[in-house]
Amino acid sequence: MSNLKETLKAQIIEQLSLEDLNPADIQDDAPLFGGDGLGLDSIDALEFIVLLETHYGIRIADPSQGREIFYSVNTLADYIEKNK
């Protein structure tokens, strides 16, 4: 699971063009969205959906689950483990 999280952090940085960040800058349990997180926005949420489909073959059936799934690296990794 820890390998998946580190891989996810690198993929997030690349997919979302977060060039000023390193994987070590993203805490596993820190919120990804909003002012307390990485400052991601709704377009970035769409990029997460593309990331899941492209890299893990997972399509989110219910978009309303997005807020919960993309809350943090931990929640994202849990979702991938359960649905891959």
Binding site: E19, E47, V50
Partner: protein, 209 residues
């Protein structure tokens, strides 16, 4: 109307009000320019090259204090280029034809008027804004639009010619950004604004400082 300040950015360097601010050393000159500004705005990295160039020129002009004490509605934005968002359009096409991965964050930049949107968001400038497509830089066109703004009780306008042009093979042929700030209600003692703009751009393109 009076020309208050000008800024020009290309792969050769950044110039403002006729003076060289810095020259660039490698192909990542946009990132180099951003770093030189010492501005903390992570969203810069998500922008396309058009928005990045306009952002850099605007931030450089802001170092002069030209924009201080402006209210949200006082600043209008009139921008133009000849290639619209061609560079980003091709990258977006590539994202779904070659990578089977259409990128939402690229898609939002497939209209050039996102440039004025990015500047408005960053600086809270809520006056009129528009982005025109012209065959070439046309100072007469800009002054004509500025005259209309003045008649509508406008105060200031930041204008820009921001171009990211590809050649026939899809390689970047030209990238440049020329921004100029105009006060709509002051009298210009230096002669025709049209001539000033054309001469200034020519000098910048020839790296004449």
């Amino acid at each position: 109307m009076r020309l208050i300040g000008t800024c020009f950015l290309s792969a050769r360097g950044l110039m403002m009000d006729g003076k060289l601010i810095c020259q660039f050393s490698d192909e990542n000159w946009l990132k180099e320019a951003y770093g030189m500004l010492q501005v903390d705005y992570p969203k810069f990295y998500k922008m396309d090259n058009l928005s990045k160039m306009a952002f850099i020129c605007t931030e450089q002009l802001k170092t002069t204090g030209y924009f201080e004490n402006l209210s949200d509605e006082e600043m209008a934005l009139i921008f133009a280029n000849s290639c619209a968002s061609q560079h980003t359009d091709m990258k977006f096409i590539h994202s779904y034809t070659e990578q089977s991965n259409p990128s939402p964050s690229l898609f939002v930049y497939t209209l050039p008027n996102i440039v004025t949107g990015e500047l408005a968001i960053r600086n809270k400038w809520y006056g009129s804004n528009c982005f025109y497509i012209l065959p070439t830089f046309d100072a007469n066109f800009f002054v004509n639009k500025l005259q209309h703004l003045k008649e509508e009780d406008g105060n200031f306008c930041l204008c820009g010619w921001v171009e990211s042009k590809l050649d026939a093979t899809g390689v970047i042929e030209l990238e440049e950004s020329f921004l100029f700030l105009v006060s709509l209600n002051e009298i210009d003692k230096e002669g025709s604004l049209i001539n000033q703009l054309q001469e200034t751009l020519t000098d910048y393109r020839n790296f004449k400082i």
